[in-house]
């Protein structure tokens, strides 16, 4: 099937480079290095995970989605409600949420197979808005506009209890984020991942060389949804709270922005973007909390005008 040269190329790509080990170990060490900012680390890890999940469909498969918050929100509420009503064990919760998001993603993937970018944009946005409406209306289950309160988690493995300083929470989130990163790394450098990139670049040709385009898109969409749900579940478990804004358009737009800052279609883009975004956000909103939106808007406009591949190129230049 594949020539020997291509196999070598793939092997070379698959070799973990030294700087990757450095990045991963830095991530793992961050909860201990910045223990006093554990809350922040936790948040960054969760958003990074969310951004990675979006990258799978946006960066690697070329599906422009404005409604990825639908799965994030589903994860938040599913994890919260599951721990409240069924079982407070966090690991069981994560598995249940991932499974259910996978199914949800598979169902929703039927909606993104046809149509242009605009149609996909509309449909994904519509799905997240439906989620918002549902969470708002099913007041008995979700708490409506007041948010879901009183989510109390059992200790992880029955040993590590979630504490107020968020130390355990941050280690937990970072660990899962790193695990997912390794999984996604393996995924995008497999034949399946290369197939996705082929579809992104030219779906007609991909079809002509015998790739089953719809099948692959459905699978990656479901995986991406499942990971987005996972990040949502982490948020609900570590903060013990769920509010309607997890479904909002802003959240979908923010995560897209993070990805764009860090670099679309690049494994570590989501992580880098989440770190930069969250740091800028906490700095700027401490100066002007209300007008944070203005600066982020300005940033976006300038970013697109100057060409958003620049950041990635700088970084690639440094790491190469």
């Amino acid at each position: 099937m594949m020539g020997p040269n291509n196999m070598l190329e793939i092997k070379r790509l698959n070799r973990t480079k030294i700087w990757e080990w450095v990045v991963l170990s830095l991530m793992l060490a961050s909860p201990f290095l910045f223990a006093e900012r554990a809350m922040m680390i936790n948040e960054i890890a969760i958003t990074a995970l969310f951004a990675i999940s979006l990258d799978l469909i946006l960066g690697y498969s070329g599906i422009v989605s404005l409604g990825h918050a639908a799965f994030f929100g589903w994860g938040v509420y599913a994890a919260g409600i599951f721990s409240k009503l069924v079982n407070p064990d966090p690991i069981v919760g994560l598995i249940v949420v991932m499974g259910s998001s996978l199914v949800l993603g598979l169902i929703c993937s039927l909606t993104i197979l046809r149509g242009s970018d605009l149609t996909r944009l509309m449909v994904t946005l519509g799905v997240s808005l439906i989620g918002l409406e549902l969470a708002n209306q099913l007041r008995d289950l979700t708490g409506g506009a007041d948010g879901l309160q009183g989510v109390v988690m059992a200790p992880i493995f029955g040993v590590f209890e979630f504490d107020l300083s968020a130390k355990v929470a941050s280690i937990y989130s970072v660990l899962i984020c790193v695990l997912v990163l390794l999984f996604v790394r393996r995924l995008v450098r497999s034949p399946f991942g290369f197939g996705l990139v082929a579809i992104r670049d030219n779906s007609l040709r991909a079809r002509a060389v015998g790739l089953n385009v719809s099948h692959r898109l459905m699978v990656i969409y479901a995986i991406s949804a499942s990971l987005a749900g996972l990040s949502g579940a982490l948020l609900a478990q570590t903060t013990g709270f769920a509010s309607l804004d997890v479904f909002s358009f802003d959240r979908s737009a923010d995560v897209m922005l993070m990805l764009v800052i860090g670099g679309v279609g690049w494994l570590y883009g989501g992580v880098l973007g989440a770190v930069v975004f969250k740091l800028i956000q906490s700095q700027l909103s401490s100066i002007t909390p209300q007008y944070w939106m203005f600066w982020i808007g300005l940033f976006l406009v300038i970013l697109v005008l100057t060409g958003r591949d620049r950041i990635k190129e700088w970084f690639a230049g440094v790491s190469a």
Partner: protein, 290 residues
């Protein structure tokens, strides 16, 4: 019953004026402009300022707002949008989201987050009723005014696009900018003018809607989805498609909110997704373009 239908139609007409500009930029120029609502919001604010603060007569306000927002649109096109035409859709989405975020924060900064109210002049207040109880038709004067005005606008637009020299030049520029400019059509000027008129119409829609929709800083994000629905469902190959789509949306929204208020928004979104799955190119397009 009939009253609701009429309100729905009026609402739909309003949506049409608001989004027709978007359907032109999106459909003809293939540019995803999520900041379209920002122009509408500016129109609404201009209207409130002109009419309530400066006491300019209502009928003079409308064209003034149109011209102001069209100028703003022309300026934006010249300075910013023109560079975006050839970028990818993702870039366009990011860029226009950025613009709408900026407009939201700017209005919040200068005017405050409170909702603006517009008190209509006396001759537009009040309503008439006809008919017996189950079939009562109550027509608010203002809504009647909107329907009439929008109908006239639609006629003008339709003839403008299909019958005039400008219309054919625009269609030529869209189909193939290179060849069009080779034939001596000033493509850049045509796009500039089209964008300006589209923004101006959005501004006019915002001005007309100041009393019905609420004008507030979050307006561009709140109604963005409605504009996009109109364009996506209506298809982008004609003026009539978006017109029917906005009617449908207006009526569905008004009925939904009246009969099952708790699921009002829900119905609209589900309807949209179903329609888009069924006809991805839009409900009212003939054949498949592009």
């Amino acid at each position: 019953m009939l009253t609701l239908l009429f309100d729905g139609v009026a609402y739909g007409m309003l949506l049409f004026v608001l989004s027709v500009g978007l359907s032109v930029t999106l459909g003809l120029m293939n540019f995803i402009n999520l900041a379209h609502g920002a122009f509408a919001m500016m129109g609404g604010y201009c209207m409130v300022y002109l009419f309530s603060h400066l006491q300019v007569p209502f009928l003079i306000c409308l064209p003034v707002v149109f011209v102001l927002i069209a100028l703003l649109g022309a300026f934006m096109e010249r300075v910013l949008y023109r560079r975006m035409y050839n970028k990818s859709h993702l870039d366009q989405v990011l860029f226009s989201i950025g613009l709408s975020f900026m407009s939201v924060a700017t209005m919040d900064y200068f005017v405050g987050s409170s909702q603006q109210t517009l008190v209509l002049p006396e001759w537009l207040q009040g309503r008439h009723e006809w008919g017996q109880d189950p079939w009562t038709l109550g027509v608010g004067n203002y809504r009647l005014f909107i329907v009439l005005l929008c109908a006239v606008l639609t006629l003008i637009l339709q003839t403008g696009l299909s019958k005039t020299r400008f219309g054919s030049q625009l269609r030529a520029s869209v189909d193939d900018p290179t060849v069009a400019s080779g034939l001596g059509i000033p493509v850049n000027k045509i796009f500039l003018l089209t964008f300006a008129v589209g923004s101006g119409l959005a501004g006019l829609g915002g001005a007309l809607g100041a009393e019905i929709l609420s004008i507030e800083p979050m307006f561009p994000l709140k109604y963005m989805i409605y504009f996009l629905i109109v364009v996506a469902v209506g298809g982008t190959s004609s003026i009539t498609g978006p017109l029917y789509a906005s009617m449908l949306l207006g009526v569905a929204d008004v009925f939904g909110k009246y009969y099952i208020p708790q699921f009002g928004g829900f119905i609209v979104y589900v309807l949209m997704i179903v329609i888009l799955l069924w006809r991805p190119q839009g409900l009212f397009t003939k054949g498949v373009k592009r």
